[in-house]
């Protein structure tokens, strides 16, 4: 919800189109989010009050920020499994280095951002130059960082940082008319989301998406692939740093505070319709995926489902959501593959996504492809190679 309103100034046209394409994969996550929020509001009417709702947004903020960072990595064609460990590391650093000394807040915060950028830089450079799959690099970083943090603290994290630092995560602008309190987390989330949307629309942001789609083409187009790829990892580590700063205020210092964040973030991003393997997806949808996931947990809570079944329901939901998106995206891509040479539009949100059936149906099926899922018209060589690319990407 906030996701959509936050982007309103910059993207009025897209919001208008969104209403029409709510059933398409791009819009499905927003539809899911609305349905979930309405169901929560029905079960627990006080949830719809502005004060309660802003609390919900505050709770989601760290997850959403991590998901935004993960979005850039995934849309660039890679994984970042180290985000949870980065969150933990930053939380522990804040707790240990700041202590109760207000004067240390600024230098330590700067150090945390530098440390986050360094982690991302190491990940990105190893992926780019040593050509190790990102899954393995960030898995190694996840183990090494968590082990290093626990070794440093002796396994038990000590002391919370100064209260004025924790204020970022748990405080806010008080005494406002309607919502009573505007948490800093929500402000930070809005800033991060705004920056992400702006960045994704810049040429550099578009290059990231292009890199996830086809790295060779991007290189021929003159981009420095290694720097684009490395920067995605830096972005994700920095976003994990921001999430850590929020979490240290909200949840306090604990070595397991970031556990599982990487999978939650990947789940949220995928729920937002972003294709694993890169090249497809919208950053706002990724943030909305985080909101949908957290709304789902809230709903299960209010519905009285035992907390042990939360995981099972989450598993079912993500499989169904991705299955829905995967089958529809396929149809949509087929439609677009026919359309693109003529349409020639760099922004791919406009016509082809709205009605895949109408575009694929007039063309006769091709006999050489027996799989019913891929029966579609394909004039000759170029579109077929394009589809080959898309299909293999889905299986990666």
């Amino acid at each position: 919800m906030t996701a959509t309103t936050a982007t309103k100034p910059s993207l009025p046209n897209r919001l208008a189109g969104l209403g029409r394409t709510l059933v398409s994969p791009r819009g499905a996550v927003f539809l899911l989010l609305i349905v979930l929020l309405v169901m929560i509001a029905v079960l627990n009417p006080s949830f719809a009050e502005p004060g309660q709702f802003i609390r919900f947004v505050q709770r989601v903020a760290p997850v959403a920020i991590v998901a935004i960072g993960q979005y850039f990595v995934i849309v660039g064609g890679e994984f970042d499994l180290s985000m949870g460990s980065v969150v933990t590391a930053q939380v522990v650093i804040a707790g240990n280095l700041i202590g109760q000394d207000d004067a240390k807040i600024l230098p330590v915060t700067v150090f945390m951002f530098v440390f986050g950028a360094l982690v991302g830089l190491v990940n990105g450079l190893i992926v780019s130059f040593l050509r190790v799959p990102s899954f393995i690099v960030t898995l190694g970083m996840m183990l090494a960082l968590l082990g290093g943090v626990l070794y440093w603290t002796g396994g038990a994290a000590t002391g919370n940082p100064a209260d004025s630092f924790r204020e970022i995560g748990r405080g806010g602008i008080r005494d406002l008319p309607v919502i009573d309190i505007l948490p800093w987390s929500v402000v930070v989330l809005a800033i991060v989301l705004g920056l992400a949307v702006w960045f994704a629309r810049r040429p550099f942001g578009r290059t990231i998406i292009a890199l996830g789609d086809n790295a060779t083409t991007v290189r021929y187009a003159g981009a420095r692939n290694w720097w684009v790829k490395t920067s995605t990892f830096v972005i994700s580590s920095l976003s994990a740093t921001v999430a850590g700063i929020l979490l240290v205020g909200y949840a306090g210092v604990h070595p397991s505070v970031g556990r599982g964040y990487e999978f939650t973030a990947i789940t949220a991003v995928v729920l937002g319709g972003v294709v694993l393997g890169g090249g497809r997806g919208w950053v706002v949808a990724a943030a909305a995926g985080a909101f949908a996931l957290e709304a789902l947990f809230t709903l299960l809570n209010f519905a009285g489902v035992p907390s042990t079944y939360r995981d099972a329901v989450q598993g079912v939901i993500i499989i169904l959501a991705v299955a829905y998106a995967a089958t529809t995206v396929r149809a949509r891509r087929r439609g677009r593959a026919l359309e693109t040479p003529a349409a020639n539009s760099p922004a791919d949100q406009t016509p082809p996504g709205s009605d895949p059936a109408a575009q694929t149906s007039p063309a006769p099926p091709v006999a050489k492809e027996p799989d019913p899922d891929s029966v579609s018209a394909r004039p000759a060589p170029i579109p077929s190679t394009q589809r080959a690319d898309n299909e293999t990407k889905g299986g990666s």
Partner: protein, 375 residues
Amino acid sequence: MSSPSAPAARPVARRRRRRLDSSLIVGIALIAVIVIGAILVASVGRNFFSAGNIRDILTGMSVLGFVAIGQTLVILCASLDLSVPYVVSLSSLIAADLMAGDPANIPVAVLAVLATAAVIGLANGLIVTKLKVNGFIATLGTGLIIKGYLDSNYKGTSGQVPWEFQLIGATGVGPVPISTILMLVVALAGAFFLARTRTGNHMFAVGGNEQVARLSGIRTARPIIIAHVLCSITAALAGLLLASRLGVGSPTVGTQGGYDLLSIAAVVLGGTLLMGGRGSIWGTVGGVAIFAVVDNVMSVMQVNPFLKDVVRGIVIVAAVAVYTSRQLDRRRPRFGPGSAASAPPTSPGAGEPSAPAAPAGSAASDTTGRSEANA
């Protein structure tokens, strides 16, 4: 196994450096790790090659080995299985509950465990192939579902494993534990399956390039489903082994071991491409052995347990970096950092035309020999 694919890839790829078989690189890395480990262990006055120590290493290999063998099949098909730790836990619980301390129940329990695992694997495979859900998400989802079931129905350890079954985890032939022998037998069966059966060959083809495989007349769904079923079954074997070691079933034994990510790391450490189509079971066994040796050396040297994770992480990345530097042109260009696109300093233009052709060509040659049987 690289035997069917190596002859096809050789003429296509223009490499001046001498080619090393990926299993061979793993073997060299393993020997290097053993030598370094032996020196380090000797420096603290212990004997690395003592019977007890070798037994420790081999015991450490067995559980992860089972899981990683199955994971190899799935990764060869360009999928992933993140549900294995929960399958391991579930298997140990079902086994211990059904056995209930009575040796007469052992066959029933083992069959029930394997059947359950097969159903889970079938569900994974069908979700991946029919619903077109990425393997990462599909198995993450099924893993969460099993986790929800485990958390809801088991509060702690459960059941009782009879002594006869515990012997499997406790005895050995000389310094070699029975469990490791069983693991190696499964590895042999897996290697035979990949090298000598039609489905095994189809796995390479489908993982290498699903489009080419389908156009060659392969039903692409079937190898993927079978790989997932076999992966869940080997995870269930690991669960049985853990039940036999612990004497009870435990709902957390799988997640504590971190078998999902560690098995994937072991598979990649063994030279299998994460993007599918190339790899071998014996490489995976070598990767598992590297893990076991590193862990053992750190235990003997009494490294801080948290520092162990740091070393593990560095070893994983460093080892894979060594392999990938020798396997550049074996990777499909679109995937991952091995693409020629991100390598301006090393290969300006030289490897690009051949790179896309290599996997497609090898995949096709894998299948052409057997396509008439399939058709």
